[in-house]
């Protein structure tokens, strides 16, 4: 269990270094929902190539390194209805709130942005309530 915390810390450091790279290199906030959402709704048309390159690298790197680890399991739900509803909520919610775990969480909290801190507290609380309701009360996940 505790080795998983160390992997978490190490992986977290890499995530933070990636965010620092984008900030110092390109002057951009590393927010996954913003970078992706801008391609979907057209608001990120002017710098689409760098968004696409970032997302392709995010997609490709785990694909390349996962064979080095054994027993890789993402434990994703096998209920497509749950995933469709969840995907819609995440897509709409992150774009309306202007950020997700990487933008509001990592990049916002680290600069003591009140918006980032409040958003993070709200989505963690909502996520906790969601797991409580859907796992322990309705037992669908």
């Amino acid at each position: 269990m505790q080795s998983e915390w160390l992997w978490g810390l190490g992986g977290g450091l890499l995530i933070g270094l990636g965010a620092a790279m984008l900030l110092w290199g390109n002057g951009k906030i590393m927010g996954a929902s913003g970078l992706l959402g801008g391609l979907v709704d057209g608001s990120g048309r002017s710098d689409w190539a760098e968004r696409a390159v970032f997302l392709i690298a995010t997609f490709a790197t785990p694909l390349v390194i996962y064979p080095l680890f054994n027993e890789v399991d993402t434990h994703i739900s096998s209920n497509w209805l749950v995933l469709v509803v969840a995907g819609l909520l995440v897509g709409i919610g992150t774009r309306i709130a202007n950020g997700c775990t990487s933008g509001h969480g990592v990049c916002g909290i680290s600069r003591f942005s009140l918006r980032g801190i409040v958003a993070t507290l709200i989505y963690i609380a909502a996520g906790g309530a969601s797991v409580l309701v859907f796992r322990h009360m309705l037992e669908v996940i």
Binding site: E4, G8, L9, G10, G11, G12, I15, L17, G18, G25, G27, I29, A32, S33, L36, D41, E50, V53, F54, A57, T58, A60, T61, P62, I65, Y66, D73, T74, H75, I76, L83, V84, G87, L88, V90, G91, G93, R95, I96, A97, N98, S102, V106, I109, S110, R111, S113, R115, V118, I122, Y123, A126, G127, G128, A129, S130, L132, F134, R135, H136
Partner: protein
């Protein structure tokens, strides 16, 4: 040059998400499962990610990024209904699936078809968001 920084950042992000276990939905839901078998891993990931970024932000004062004239300005200290409403929706979907946008992209390559189901639904949601925003917040936020 900008594309190189984007590629390097995406590589670090993807590697970090995978290594930290954040592409494992059980770990994320475990973190949110306060009343069940609670898993604190996500706090280590978040803490680990905030450390380099804390210093990265501190060092921005009086400097500029390599390929741009200025760093992103600090957003206005404004907690509006949009931020709260959007974060509630996001949190509900995050808890339901154990996926947020970064890990949703990072797990697409090896996680199997159900990750694509989530990903496509998330893209549809992102496409719908401007209309939902207009319908709910038009009067409050006309200039969006």
């Amino acid at each position: 040059m900008r594309l190189l920084f984007s590629a390097l950042a995406g590589t670090l992000f993807g590697a970090g998400l995978f290594i930290s276990g954040m592409t494992d939905t059980a770990k994320v839901q475990g973190w949110l499962d306060i009343f069940g078998d609670w898993d604190p891993t996500l706090a280590f990931v978040m803490g680990g990610a905030i450390i380099p970024m804390f210093f990265a932000w501190r060092l921005t004062e009086g400097r500029r990024p390599v390929t741009q004239a200025f760093f992103p300005p600090k957003p206005p200290v404004e907690i509006d209904r949009r931020l709260a409403f959007g974060s509630v929706l996001f949190g509900m979907g995050w808890g339901l699936s154990g996926l947020c946008p970064g890990p949703a992209v990072a797990s697409l390559g090896y996680g199997g078809v159900m990750h694509w189901v989530f990903f496509v639904a998330m893209l549809v949601g992102m496409g719908l968001a401007p209309y939902v925003r207009a319908a709910l917040f038009e009067r409050a936020m006309p200039a969006e």
